[in-house]
Each structure stands twice: as C-alpha cells, then as structure tokens.
C-alpha cells in the first residue's frame, strides 16, 4: 500500500453527498433538442462537418478537430441539424458561442460502430488518433483534450499514472456512482492508457468518504495484471486538485509552472478512463456522461446518464425542480463551480454536477469586512500562499508584489474565501489580478514585438545605406581605373601588360630552382657515396632541372610580354598542394632516418632516406611546375569552388541526417543510446568533410578571387554545428532537470558535438585568416608598375630625342615638342612615384627580400637619372643659347644617360634575381627548416603535455599552456624566417591543427 503524504492546508466543508449517492445511475430521457457547443474544452473549437437540415445518426462525427489541442464532436442521438450558430453555453460569463443544434427524432439510431478488435496491434499514434477522433476530452475540470495528455509519453518519461477518483468537492457524486457501477470499464480504460503511456506504477486516488466505490475498485483491481494501487486519502478539500493529488499520492510536488508530466506523472480522471474504454472497446464516442443533479431546489437528487447537449432545464424538470425555490444554479461543485445565468444551457463534456440551490442552502455572501489579518486563509491554502498579502496586493494593484508572492501558483480552489471570517471574496480578487496581469503582459509583449520590428527595419535601412555607399565607391573606383587605363593607353604606344602575376611566377620559379639545387646536391652526395639508385636520382634531378628551366623561361616570358600573366593565380595553389605532399613525405623520411640512426646504421640507409626525401622534393617541384605551366588561370579557381560547393553540400546532407537522428534520440528519451551514437558518428563524418573543405579552401586561399565563396559553406557548417550543439544542449538540460538517466549520456553527446563545432569554427576561422593573408600579400604588383615606369621613361627619351632633332633642324615645331617632352616627363615622374610607393609598401610587407640592396641600387639609379636630367637641362640651355659647348654637353648627357641605363639595368637585374638571391639563401634553408621543425616538435610536445595536464585538472596546466603559446610564438618566428628564405610551409605543419583529434 502506498503511503499517503499530506499537503498543506485544506478545508472540510459540509460534504452534502448523501443526498445524491443513494440512487443508482439512471439514463436521462432523450430531450427534443440537443445543443452541442463546438468548443467544450481548452483549445481550438471544432469545425462543423454537417449542414442545417442534415440528418445525423447517433455517434456520427458532426465536427472535426482543428489544431493540436482540439477534439471532434459527435451526434449524441439521431435527429436533424436545425441550427448552427450562437447559443448560450455554460460559461461563467453567461456568454453565447457557436453550437450545433440537433432536433432529436427519438429513434436513437446508432451509426455503424464497433470497437477495436485488438487495440494493442495498433501503433501508439494510431491509437491516440483514434481516441482523439472519438471526441474524448478530460472529464474532470478543464476538459483538456485527452489525446494531448496521452501523447505525453512521447517526450516525457512517465513513471506514474494517477487516476483521479478523489472527487473532493462537496455535493458531487458522479464519479462515486460511476466507480460503483462501472469499475470494470474504468479498469479497461486504465489498461488502454497504461498501454499508451507505459507507466511503471498506477495509483488510483480516492477519498475515504466513498467506501462502496473503494470496495468496487479494489475488487476490480485484484484481477488485474497491471501494477495498480488504490490509495485511500483522507477527505479534505481540495485533495482532488491535480497538484494536491500528486503530492498526496507520491509526495512529489509539481514544480511551479510545470505540468505533472515534467516529473514523470500523468493524471487522468476516472470518467475519462471509462470514456476511453467505451471508445476503444465498443466504438462509442463521448456522447454522454454522468451528471449529478442535486441541491435543495430539486426533489430527486441523483445521478443521470445524460446525453451531451441536453439542456439543464430538461434535467431539472426530470428531477422535480421547484422553480420558486431555485436561487442559485451552479455547474460543478460549490467550491469552484460557476453560477449559470439561466437553465437554458447544455451539458458539456466537463459538466459533472448541477446544483440547484435554494437561498437558505447557499445564501448570498455577507458583505465583506476588512481583513483582520487573522491568518486563517493562510492556514488553509493548499498552495501555501499568503492569501491575505495577495489580497492586499491585488486590491492595491501592486501586481509586481503579487507576482512575487506567487499569485500564479494560486489554484483558485476557494479554500481561503471559504474560511475568511471577513467574507472577503479573495478568489475573485485573484482572478481579476491574474487577468489584469496577463493583459498587461500581453500588451508588453506587443510593445516588445513592435520595438523589435522597428529595430529590424532600422537595421535593414542602415544596411541598405552601407551597401549603396559601397556600390557607389566601387563604381567610382572602376571609373577611376578606366580613366587611368585610358590615360595609359593614350600615353603608351604598346598595350599595357594586363596585370600579369609575374611575381607569383617568379616565386614559383625560385622555388623550382631551390628544389633543383637541392636535388643537385643530393645527387652529388649520392654519387659520392655510391648509392645504388643513382640512376633514378639522376632522372629525378634531370626532370627537376627541366622543370626549373621551364619555370624560369616562363617567368622571363611573363616578365617580357605579360601575355601569360594570367597563369599566376593557380600556380600557388598547385605549388602548395605539392608542398604539402612533399612535407608529408619528408616527415616520413625523417622519422625513418631517425629510426635508422638509432639502430646505428648510417651510410646507405641514411642515404636512401635522403634520396627519398629529395625525390619527394623533386616530385613536388615537378608538380608545381606542371601546374604552373598548364594552368589557363581563370578556370582553375572555378573548378575549385565547385568542389568546395559539393563538399559543403555533402556536409550539409550529413548534417541533416544527424539532425534527424538527434531529434529521434531526443524524442524517445531512454534506450536510444545507439541512435545517439549514430548521430555522433554522422556528425563526425560531417566534420571530416568540413575539414576537407577547409583544407581546400586553405590551399585555394591564396588565389584572391576565391575567399568570399569559400567561406560561405564553412560558415554555414559552423553555424549548423552550433545550432546542433545548442539543441542538444537544451535537450540535455531538459533531461537533467527531469533527472532522467539518459541525461548523462546526452551530456556526453553534447560535449562531443561541441567539440565538432569547435573544429568547424576553427576551420572557418583559419580559412578566414588564410584568405585575409592571401588577400593582403600580393597587394601591389611591382612588375607592371615598373614596366609602366620604364615605358614612360622610354617615351620621354624618344620624345626628347625627337625634340632635339627638331631643334637642331630648327623646325618650328621644336617648341611644341619640347612641351610634349615635359608632359611626358611628368607622366614618367608619376609612374615612377607610383612604382616607388608600391615598392615601399611591398618592402614594408615583406621585409625579408634583400630590400636593402635593391634600395641602394635604386638610389644609384635615381641619382644617375637626376644627373642625366640636370645635364640634359644644361645642354638644352646651351643649345638654346646657341653656345658652342652645346654639342659637347649633349655628348656628356648621352654618357650620363648611358650610366643611368647601366644603373637601371643593375637594379633590374638585382630585382630579377630576387629569386636568385633566395636561391643563394637556399643552402641556409635546410637549417632554417630544421629549426622550424624542431620548434614545431616542441610545440606539439608541450601542447600534448598541457592538454594532459588540463584534463587531469593539474594546477600547472595554466602555466604549461602559456609555455605552449611561447613556443608557438618561437615556431612562428622560425617559420617566418624559413618562409622568408624561400621555404614553403603547408597547412599540416601548423601546430594548431595538428592535435585536433
């Protein structure tokens, strides 16, 4: 026997049940007219399916549910629909609502109906839907659609099913009689509910003032296979309140603002159970119910089996009402029921009792006095509130305080009003206050929405403005560029080189050369030590050399004509890929080497490793070259984007799958670990694709056209991963709150998901950084600028020469020509300046490339130019004055110009040999690389150690982490040095990404 817990407060109003529980249930006569409100419960009203004039049969569906919280309506007997429209309904406000009115024909003709043969053979949702279609709504208080409660098993774990048979309100005996006479039906209904909710324990709570009903229940339960306990609770109002009954039977309190299902409990009324039985086993929809007719104003106080829709007046007549004595007509019990304005209202699915009271029986409440703070209300409040405080606050409209005093936990049971010695209608105050607060909140919500809408609009306008501005700027820039290019073409005889990526080509060539040199060196080494795979090596060397040469050639071509300039973009990507491959191979070789060293076998073993390494390098170089050679630039990135897109799409698909799995797991709660795991795995797969996409994006990141497109799918992935994490987290939290056993596992799942998200995020950020770096690097291309400059200079010279010739010949156009020369010189100055600026900028960006040398050379060149100009000016002067020295001076100028040309050439050579210089440094490269790799090794080691420490929660973890950062800084330095010296570093070598998994 289950222990009965107590709840605070409660009252013992006179029971007044004896009057009506003596006689058995009798069927009420079929009335001539039935009025069926379309809304008999919480939720949306049903939608009529019949028209006026239709003949309906008993049990026929006449209105179907719309929305989730809604049930269908059936004709309680056969007859004709005579009206669909507003009629008075049983409601506290005495309002009218849409009803279907049926003129009965007295034949009570059933529609074809039969129960389910074996309800257990149906799926749960089919069965619940069936119940919903049979119009079953809670028959206790609010008339909550029963199917909604039956669905609770889907997303809640229901341990306990409570069947409410307490019937604590005075006067009412409908459930009492129902239990006495139809306990087998109730049990049948309970079995169906238990099948749907699968509770581990079923408790039937019943007050001790119904001994016959208790006996009937106990008899019925005895033969039942279910784990059912009949729990007899002491008679005390309001023990039948859902929350109170839960506390009584289980000792658990339903948390404020939650439903019992949140603590694993579902409550159903006995009447509902019996209705479910009838629907499932007999195919009878909810078309009648038992109603207690009582009160001093009727002669026969009894329980009738009443068709839904029967008007009160019929029932009162059938019970021998004395209309003169009738003073107050209450639907429901005296504590929580409503008074009716007239008896022309119909019985609905929730009507359990009609009290026709005389004035002596229920006199009007005496006038309210001041609250004397006697505290009696507090002593009886089952919600453990301070009713008198609430009363003060409600009266003074201090709603904040009322809310703080938990006004919304008041169940409006009326116990406080009942005991109040000052007769204060406390409940009425609370209802008012609640209604007003709700309205206030609704208004606040509205205002909030309005504000949000306004802000969203504001933001949109702002955004549009910015975009407009950007477009405008872009247009202006374009126009400016167009202007500039026009100018250029106007000034230049030859077409300008189309921004060819000479520089990147140069780098490629340099890299190729470096590789070549290494290959060469290795080859020589190998030759010296007499390795057996010399031939192979030689071949590799040769190809490498070929490629390097070709690359160089290409570069020269590009430098000369700029015709293949476009090929630059894809080069880097391809080279990078190659480098990545090379790096992997290199690493392998290195470790092999180390192993060999440890085993003490030098010589050939070592050599072989080295050779392998070189081979790898050669391969890389070759590949780089191939790519550089092959690529017609614009197509490569497109292909790449497509790939990325596909990858993203795949990731998204996987994501969706994972999402589905996750939802499933969430819904079904326990026992779905397997699915959870599947979900995690799928997410893993997704993240793999994400990472691949990232790598691609990274490789492609150096082609300036791509980043914007690349980032989008990554970002999407990241966001989706985040959403996933959040959803899973919420689910886990919910589970935790409910104390479900799966919570722990779910939490673990969430952590895993979060890890994935972190990865995705990192990938995205890395890609972003990469893009930014890529976008920033080749900022200004010196080569074309220089070309511009040189051309301008050439023009100046030509024009100058022409002018001089003209002067010498005394042509009249000499003046004009001179002016043209000056103009051209101005242009030259401009071009030069642009070039210098660009160079300065580039130097700032990449300070490593023997900039000092170049600058010096340039200074020389400039000085020489200045001299030329000065001399030129002097010579011109002399010419103009017709001095005899003019010729000599001219010769001097020419000499100077020759010098200048020389200086310029040196300078250009030096610049061209930027790569060569790098090549010279190449010998150092290996050293630098070794440094770098050592640094990387340290970083990784330290990182692992730090992570270990973190996992173990050691106090030193923090310091270790800082140490790792320092090491990483050093590694970055080393890397930079290495890169500056011409080495290439692929993404894998990044310490951040190495230890992700």
């Amino acid at each position: 026997m289950t222990r009965v817990h107590a709840f605070h407060g409660g009252v013992h109003p006179p029971e007044n049940k004896r009057q009506s529980n003596g006689a058995p249930i009798r069927p009420a006569p079929i009335p001539p007219r039935l009025v069926l409100p379309l809304s008999q419960h919480i939720g949306a009203p049903a939608e009529p399916l019949v028209k006026v004039g239709d003949r309906v049969l008993k049990g026929q569906v006449i209105a179907e549910p719309i929305g989730r919280v809604s049930v269908s309506l059936h004709a309680p007997t056969s007859g004709t629909v005579t009206l669909i429209g507003p009629q008075p309904v049983p409601h506290a406000s005495g309002m009218e609502a849409n009803c279907i009115v049926i003129e009965t024909d007295g034949q009570d003709e059933w529609i074809e109906h039969a129960g389910l043969e074996d309800y257990k053979s149906y799926t749960k949702s089919e069965l619940i839907n069936y119940i919903r279609n049979y119009g079953i709504a809670g028959m206790g208080g609010a008339g909550f659609p029963t199917d909604v409660k039956l669905h609770l098993g889907d997303d809640h774990i229901v341990n306990t099913l409570i069947i409410n048979a307490a019937e604590c309100e005075p006067y009412i005996t409908a459930d009492d009689l129902l239990i006495r006479e139809r306990s087998d039906e109730i049990l049948g209904g309970i079995e169906v509910i238990a099948h749907l909710l699968n509770p581990s324990h079923i408790l039937i709570g019943i007050e001790d003032n119904k001994p016959q009903a208790i006996r009937a229940l106990e008899d019925a339960v005895r033969g039942c296979h279910l784990n059912i306990d009949v729990v007899v609770v002491p008679t005390k109002y309001p023990s039948g309140g859902e929350k109170q009954l839960v506390k009584l039977l289980t000792g658990v309190e339903v948390p404020s603002g939650k439903i019992p299902a949140d603590v694993g409990i579902v409550c159903q009324n006995v009447g509902t159970a019996s209705a479910i039985y009838r629907a499932v086993h007999r195919g009878e929809p909810l078309i009648s119910r038992i109603v207690t007719i009582t009160g001093d104003a009727v002669d026969q106080r009894h329980n009738l089996d009443v068709l839904i829709g029967t008007q009160y007046s019929e029932l009162l007549e059938a019970s021998g009402v004395r209309r003169d004595d009738l003073y107050r007509l209450v639907m429901g019990g005296p504590m929580m029921g409503f008074t009716m304005k007239s008896d022309a209202v119909p019985v609905v699915k929730t009507t359990n009792c009609i009290i026709a009271a005389t004035e002596e029986e229920m006199p009007p409440a005496p006038p309210a006095l001041n609250c004397i703070r006697c505290g009696m209300c507090e002593q009886v409040c089952p919600a453990e509130l301070l009713p008198q405080q609430l009363h003060w606050f409600a009266k003074g409209k201090e709603y904040d305080k009322a809310k703080h005093h938990n006004l919304f936990d008041c169940i409006e049971c009326g116990a406080c009003s009942y005991v109040c010695p000052s007769n204060i209608p406390l409940v009425q105050y609370y209802r008012n206050a609640k209604a007003e607060i709700r309205q206030e909140e609704a208004e606040k919500q509205k205002a909030e929405y309005a504000r949000m809408r306004f802000e969203a609009r504001q933001a949109r306008l702002e955004q549009e403005k910015i975009e407009k501005e950007l477009r405008r700027k872009a247009r202006a820039e374009e126009a400016a560029k167009a202007q500039a290019s026009k100018k250029d073409s106007a000034g230049a005889a030859k077409p300008a080189a189309a921004g060819g990526d000479v520089k990147t080509l140069k780098t490629a060539a340099a890299v190729a050369r470096t590789k070549l040199k290494k290959a060469e060196k290795a080859f020589e080494q190998a030759k010296e030590s007499g390795a057996d795979n010399l031939a192979e090596l030689e071949a590799a060397f040769n190809t490498a050399k070929q490629k390097a040469d070709a690359a160089q050639q290409k570069l020269e071509q590009a430098e000369k004509g700029g015709t293949v300039a476009a090929a630059g973009a894809p080069d880097i990507k391809a080279l990078k890929t190659a480098a990545a491959v090379a790096r992997t191979k290199l690493k392998k070789a290195q470790s092999a080497l180390k192993a060999a060293e440890e085993k003490g076998q030098d010589g050939i073993e070592q050599l072989r490793d080295t050779v392998k390494e070189l081979e790898a390098k050669a391969d890389a170089a070759q590949k780089a070259f191939d790519d550089a050679q092959a690529a017609p630039a614009p197509t490569a990135p497109v292909v790449d984007i497509k790939q990325l897109k596909t990858a993203a799409a795949v990731a998204r698909t996987k994501l969706k799958q994972a999402e589905k799995a996750l939802e499933k797991a969430q819904d079904s709660g326990e026992g779905d670990i397997a699915e959870l795991e599947a979900k995690v795995k799928e997410l893993e797969a997704k993240v793999d694709t994400t990472r691949k996409a990232f790598e691609e994006a990274e490789q492609g990141g150096s082609t300036p056209a791509k980043p914007a497109i690349d980032l989008a799918p990554l970002k999407e992935d990241m966001d989706k991963a985040l959403a996933k994490v959040e959803k899973a987290d919420a689910a886990a939290k919910a589970a935790e709150e409910k104390g479900l056993p799966t919570a722990e596992k779910m939490r673990a799942g969430v952590d895993k998901l979060r890890g994935k998200y972190e990865e995705a995020k990192k990938a995205y950020e890395d890609a972003e950084v990469q893009n930014a770096a890529a976008g920033g690097k080749p900022a200004i291309d010196l080569a074309p600028l220089k070309e511009d400059m040189d051309k301008a200079l050439a023009k100046v010279e030509k024009a100058d020469a022409a002018a001089k010739a003209a002067e010498e010949k005394g042509l009249p156009t000499a003046e004009k020509m001179r002016a043209g020369v000056d103009k051209l010189r101005g242009k030259y100055e401009e071009a030069k300046k642009a070039y210098e600026d660009a160079q300065a900028q580039n130097n700032a960006a990449t300070p490593a490339v023997s900039a000092v040398n170049l600058d010096e050379l340039k200074a020389d060149m400039d000085a020489a130019l200045a001299k030329v100009e000065k001399a030129d000016a002097a010579a011109k002067n002399a010419e103009e004055k017709g001095l005899p020295t003019a010729d000599k001076m001219r010769a001097g100028v020419d000499k100077l110009r020759g010098k200048y040309e020389e200086a310029k050439k040196t300078y250009e050579d030096a610049k061209a040999q930027g790569g060569a210089a790098v090549a010279a440094v190449a010998a150092n490269l290996d050293e630098l690389k070794a440094d770098m790799e050592a640094a990387l090794g340290k970083v990784q080691k330290a990182d692992v150690a730090a992570k270990n420490a973190e996992e173990k929660g050691l106090p030193t973890a923090e310091k270790m982490r800082a140490g790792v950062e320092k090491l990483r800084g050093k590694y970055e330095e080393a890397k930079q040095a290495y890169v500056a010296a011409g080495g290439t570093v692929d993404a894998d070598a990044k310490p951040d990404t190495v230890i992700v998994d």
Binding site: F7, H8, V11, P13, K243, K247, E253, V254, P255, S256, G257, R323, D324, L326, R328, V330, P334, M335, M336, G337, F338, T339, M340, K341, S342, D343, M362, P364, A365, P366, P367, L369, N370, I372, R373, C374, G375, M376, E378, Q379, A383, E384, L386, Q388, Q389, D400, H404, H405, N406, D409, E412, G414, S417, Y418, V419, P421, S422, P425, V427, Q428
Partner: protein
C-alpha cells in the same frame, strides 16, 4: 426565477469576525474570574467601564467616518480591545485612567490608522504603554491579593460598592492603601540588598501572595488553550514567546541564582501569560506566516526578559509587544512560506531575492 450569479466559492464557513471575537472574549473569562477572586471587584468594574467606553468611542468614530455603526460594532473588536486593556490595568485604576487608555486604544491606535486590520500596533498595548509612561504611580499601585489583606477571615476583598467608590473617586486614598501593594515583579526589583532567596522569604507578596498570580496565569493558559483548540490562532506565537522567555531566564538563573529570578517566576507573574496568549496572538499586528510568528514570539520573549531584568519598568510585555509590532512587516518580508512547487521560499517584496 432570477438566478443569482456569483463567483466561487458558493459556500462559506460561518466564521465571522464577530464569532472569532466572541470566542476571544469567552476565553478571557477564566482569567477574569481569577482576577476577581484574588483581587476583588476592581477588574470586573474596569472591564465593564472600559467596554462601555470602547463601544461609545467606536460608535462615535464610525459616525464620524460615515460607516454603518451597528454593522461594525457587531464585530466586537472594540470590546475585545477594551477587555484586554482592562485586564492589564491595576484593579483599582481610577476611572479616568481607563478613559484615557480606551480613548488612546480605540481612537488613536486603531481608528486613526484606518480601523480594524490596519493598525500596525496592538491598540491595548499602545494604551497600556502610554498610561504606564504618563501615570506611573497609578499604574504601579496594584491591589494586594485578599490573602494578604487580613490573614484571619476568608474572602476579605473590598466590597463591590466600595470598589466602585475607589474607582470613581468617592473614597479617600487611605482606604485604598490598606488594599494595595507592590506586585511580585516590583517587590523583586526593589528588594534592596536582599538576594532573591532572601526576598522570597521576607517579602510578603512573594512569600505568601504569589499564589494569586500563579492562579491568574493558569486561568489565562486555560483560555489560551481553548482558543488554540478552536483554531482561532496557531501555537506558533505563544509557544515561542514562552519558550524564549523560559530558556533565557533559565540560563541566567543557572549562572547566578542569587541575582536572577527563576524561570517559573518569569512565566507566571505580570502579564506574561496574558501577553503570550491574548496579545502576541493578535493577528492584525503580528507577523503573518507561521514562520514569521515564531520569530515574532521569540522577539517578544527575549525583550520581556531583557526589559524586566535590566530595564527601568517593572513589567515589559507592552513594550516588548510594541517593539515587535514595529518589526512585523520586516519579519513578513523574510518569512514567506515556501509555495507549493517552488524549491524555496521567496524573500522581500519583489524579485530581489
């Protein structure tokens, strides 16, 4: 057939304020009887006089405030206040003392604050404290229990008529003197150099008369238990008043029995029982929740002991109650009950705790 419409609930416990007050009055009867038996007719005369005054003042105020007089008089609250005040006054208190007291209680302490339910202080105690401060001589001149008046005869109290004369000023004070003396609390306070032990033996009111006070206290306890049984109030306030007083006095008595009075003495003399059962349980001016009532009672018990032991006044119930009335709103804020379905009780007035 006009059906009336009203909000639920449609039943009411016949539990009117008037009924509550009548029960309280009923519960004071044993105390009144004991007082009359031991100290003569004075208390009875005072109660009647005070009640008449209270009804008169109440009616006048109701008229001034334009309220239905009969309706409000029927709640008996004025009478209860008057009776409690009269029980606390010395039996021979002059008529004008009572008049002033009732005026202060009904007009100032109750109606100037808005009437029943709105008064922050217990009206009877406000009046008592004011009288004690204003007329210390009259207020400390207590009647001797009849056993001390003349040892030989049986019930040697002043006759009813003579008592009337004493109260309404028709007799000269020399007669009174033979019937009055110090209360036990006074006697113990002004015992000079005697130890409590010696005082108990040598001071007559302690040696022989103390029984009267014990009896009166017992009578109040009876009344209080009756009200508890009737669920007019809960046990929280009286038990915590008496408990804290008993614990404190026991502690001090154990440490220095020569100087401090024993706990039984503290519980049974002066206004302790009257205060614990009839004053501290006044719902209007006390804390609201059960938890709050316990704190409220603890405060009163502690203050009674502190003021009696170290304060300047012989009895302390009135001051202790008034001080705690003052703190009741504060106590209320921090002793809200834990509402069903909430993990813990809320504090303060709104969302700040």
């Amino acid at each position: 057939m006009a059906l009336i419409r009203s909000s639920s609930p449609h039943l009411h416990k016949m539990n009117q304020t008037g009924r509550v007050m009548r029960l309280v009055l009923l519960a004071t009867l044993p105390g009144l009887a004991a007082m009359t038996f031991f100290f003569g007719w004075g208390t009875l005369i005072n109660i009647i006089w005070a009640s008449l005054l209270a009804v008169g003042f109440e009616a006048a105020i109701m008229k001034l405030r334009n309220r239905p007089i009969r309706f409000y008089l029927s709640d008996y609250s004025a009478v209860v206040t008057a009776v409690l005040l009269a029980l606390a006054l010395p039996p021979f208190a002059a008529w004008w003392v009572t008049l002033v007291g009732v005026f202060v209680a009904i007009v100032i302490a109750k109606h100037l604050y808005g009437g029943l339910g709105q008064n922050p202080f217990n009206p009877a105690m406000v009046a008592y404290a004011l009288l004690l401060v204003s007329f210390p001589v009259e207020m400390t001149r207590w009647t001797e229990p009849f056993v001390l008046v003349s040892a030989d005869s049986g019930w040697s109290v002043l006759s009813f008529v003579d008592t009337l004369k004493v109260i309404f000023g028709g007799i000269d004070t020399s007669v009174i003197d033979s019937y009055t003396g110090a209360t036990p609390l006074d006697a113990l306070r002004h015992r000079g150099g005697l130890t409590t032990e010696e005082a108990w033996r040598q001071v007559p009111v302690l040696a022989d008369g103390i029984g009267a006070w014990h009896a009166v206290s017992a009578a109040y306890v009876m009344g209080g238990v009756f009200l508890l049984y009737k669920k007019i109030f809960t046990w929280h306030a009286p038990v915590s008043v008496l408990g804290s007083l008993a614990v404190l006095s026991t502690l001090f008595f154990i440490v220095e029995p020569d100087y401090f009075a024993d706990p039984f003495f503290h519980l049974t003399v002066g206004g302790t029982m009257l205060g614990a059962f009839f004053i501290a349980t006044d719902p209007v001016s006390s804390a609201t929740s059960n938890k709050g009532k316990i704190w409220f009672g603890l405060g009163i018990g502690t203050l009674i002991f502190v003021i009696r032991t170290w304060g300047g006044y012989p009895d302390a119930v009135a001051f202790a109650v008034l001080l705690m009335n003052l703190s009741a709103p504060f106590i209320d804020q921090y002793t809200q009950p834990r509402t069903y379905g909430h993990a813990k009780a809320k504090r303060g007035l709104k969302g700040d705790a």
